[in-house]
């Protein structure tokens, strides 16, 4: 298993290099650049040339790339052209916020999605099933930002039971260890910080979870229905096993295979959904950094963000493959 993981990680290196070349070329092929965006109304050709020279953008593209690669290996992705701060620091802060949000969103999506999908399949054609099918359809169809504003209006403006935005209440004064608000609270035993973090997370996480949850419900339902028709389930019935054993051991385990693939894909897509959700709830994660960087043509920040997204994808897919190997003996490599 360890060899498999190491090999997969090594395989990711060429992928990332090719991707970095593509981003590099693509960003520079777009009209405008950081200099134009920074100068705005004060733009003159001389000033642009001067700024480009200062940013190193006057050099041939392969020279720029070579320098970028050399620094990137040491973890230096340059300074943001918007804030002038090192990109890696900016992203570091936003990354913890986004990961925390995505993690809880996925916990909700998986924790509710699999049981709901399972129950829908079990009570196929009955009220619960029909309700689930319809509500998942709505869940996928309603845009995240609409749902976000709706939730804010109901729970913050009207009922006033949940905070409308942000990760933490200003009155909470906790120590930051990892940057994850909820985890920090546990580590430093400042439990009020953890609870406050969870209260802030509740609405954005639920909103972000709707689409992946709806997809997981659908896939689980279809997959369980497929497995229920399998011959080996009939064999299990012919053994006189209890219903609970049959469902747990024979149905659910087989049904989870396609679900784990879906979970991997949805986790990757979550980053896209997070941009909108973070915007609505003023979350201060990667989403706002990305939106700002695209608007202002912040090359260093964009390069780092896109590579980070690629790394996340690689890691998530690796985790999916590992879960596959755990669930299904047929895909285990070697012995």
């Amino acid at each position: 298993m360890l060899r498999f993981i190491v090999r997969r990680l090594l395989q990711a290196i060429p992928t990332l290099i090719v991707l970095s070349i593509l981003i590099f070329a693509w960003l520079r092929a777009l009209p405008g650049g950081p200099a134009t965006a920074m100068l705005g109304d004060r733009w003159t050709p001389e000033r642009e040339a001067q700024l480009n020279a200062a940013l190193g953008l006057d050099q041939p593209i392969w020279v720029q790339y070579w320098k970028f690669l050399g620094r990137a290996i040491t973890g230096d992705f340059g300074n943001s052209t918007v804030t002038g701060l090192p990109v890696i620091e900016e992203i570091g802060r936003g990354f913890t916020a986004t990961v925390e949000l995505s993690f809880f969103a996925m916990v909700v999506a998986i924790g509710l999605g699999i049981p709901l999908g399972y129950l829908a399949a079990r009570y196929r054609g009955r009220l619960l099933d029909n309700l689930t099918v319809v509500s998942t359809l709505i869940g996928v169809a309603v845009p995240v930002f609409f749902l976000g504003f709706l939730a804010k209006w109901v729970f913050s403006s009207q009922l006033g039971i949940l905070p409308p935005s942000g990760r933490q209440d200003v009155e909470i004064n906790s120590t930051s260890v990892t940057g994850f608000v909820t985890l920090d609270g546990l580590l430093t035993r400042e439990f009020d910080a953890t609870i406050d973090g969870l209260v802030h997370l509740l609405m954005p996480a639920l909103v972000l979870a709707t689409i992946p949850m709806a997809v997981i419900v659908r896939i689980t339902r279809a997959s369980v229905l497929d497995v229920l028709d399998e011959d080996f389930v009939r064999t299990a019935e012919s053994k006189g096993l209890g219903t609970a054993t049959i469902r747990r051991r024979h149905v659910l385990r087989n049904a989870l295979l396609p679900v784990s693939t879906t979970i991997g894909l949805q986790t990757g897509l979550l980053l896209a959904g997070a941009v909108l959700t973070e915007k609505v709830f003023v979350w201060g994660g990667l989403g706002s950094l990305l939106a700002e960087a695209i608007e202002l043509k912040d090359y260093p920040r964009l390069q780092a963000l896109i590579l980070l997204a690629a790394v996340v994808y690689v890691v998530v897919n690796l985790l999916v493959d590992i879960s596959y190997a755990i669930i299904d003996p047929r895909v285990r490599v070697g012995r």
Partner: protein, 330 residues
């Protein structure tokens, strides 16, 4: 009294707003302890549905089962789900057609054998493990200890079927139902599996219902044979009688459509003409009449009853006579 008595068993499939389909139409037969009974017929004649009805494995929605199935004096059709679960795997074992799809691909063989032992015999993990090794050994799986931790895809087709037989026999059921157990296997393996089944039930009190479309299987194994057509028994006879002297034109046709090595090379096979799609409903007459070479006018006016003729049961107005059989073969 027989161990299993099936009386007037009917199974009707039908969803709301759909024309109901009668898969099994008043089938009766019985199996005594230690006896092997064959259910023979083409695909769709109702033989598998009969076995699933006996086991209580038919889906509950959209299926109507009527008649009576008594096992050792207990009516199975009216048992509660839980009571039935207590019997399945313990008193009633079943071997299915396709050994690859009938085993759970993501669980080791060992667990699939031990779970039935633990369910019905209350063995602890260690004892169940030892018993499973013993069982695999008994069904001729070499190196059983290692096999227990392997998964179905690591076993050959024949080995998988042996494992399924081990599972079905784990609790020494009094009735074993084998539903086309050799159909999905290579010819050489088929013989091995049949021999294994024969060995395992011979000299024990285990009753065996052998479901097959393959008359070769019946010839080697069964004491008594029921030939099914369109959900009804059309002929029932002891094995040697049926083979030597098939009376129902359908049985006769089945036997005639088997290629023989000792017939002349120029001799043509005599397949049964038409297909089950040509059947008429039993209510209108004999379902086989449109395909029957012996059909008379009366056959499509009034359905024939299952009646005793000599030592057998026959549902036919114009059966094949022993003499014509001889003439045809000569």
């Amino acid at each position: 009294m027989a161990l299993l008595e099936v009386r007037d068993l009917s199974v009707v499939f039908g969803r709301k707003r759909q024309k109901p389909f009668t898969a099994v139409d008043g089938v009766s037969f019985s199996v005594a302890a230690g006896q092997t009974v064959g259910l023979v017929g083409e695909s769709g004649c109702g033989k598998s549905v009969t076995s699933l009805a006996i086991m209580g494995l038919l889906p509950k929605r959209g299926v109507r089962v009527s008649g009576s199935v008594t096992f050792d004096g207990t009516e199975l059709l009216t048992l509660s789900d839980k009571q039935l679960r207590d019997r399945r795997g313990r008193d009633l074992g079943m071997v299915f057609q396709d050994p690859l799809t009938s085993l759970n691909p993501v669980i080791p063989i060992g667990l699939q054998v031990t779970e039935v032992l633990r369910r019905h015999r209350g063995l602890d993990h260690k004892k169940a493990q030892a018993e499973a090794t013993e069982l695999l050994n008994k069904v001729g799986i070499p190196d059983p200890n290692r096999r227990l931790s392997e998964y179905p895809h690591q076993l050959s087709g024949g080995m998988r079927q042996r494992a399924l037989i081990a599972i079905a026999l784990a609790c020494q059921p009094r009735l074993l139902i084998a539903d086309e157990p050799t159909t999905a296997l290579d010819v050489t393996i088929q013989a091995q599996i049949l021999n294994l089944l024969k060995e395992l039930v011979a000299g024990t009190d285990t009753a065996l219902i052998m479901i097959t479309h393959d008359l070769g299987v019946v010839a080697g194994l069964c004491d008594e044979v029921n030939v099914l057509y369109a959900g009804r028994v059309v002929e029932r006879a002891a094995r040697h009688e049926l083979f030597a002297d098939p009376r129902h034109p359908y049985t006769h046709g089945l036997l005639g459509s088997i290629p023989r090595l000792d017939s002349a090379r120029s001799a043509k096979l005599a397949p049964i003409t038409g297909s089950v799609a040509d059947n008429i409903p039993w209510a209108d007459g004999c379902a086989f009449a449109p395909r029957c070479p012996n059909a008379l006018q009366g056959c499509v006016e009034q359905p024939p009853e299952l009646e005793t003729q000599d030592t057998r049961l026959l549902r036919c107005y114009n059966p094949v006579l022993p003499a014509t059989t001889a003439a045809k073969e000569g």
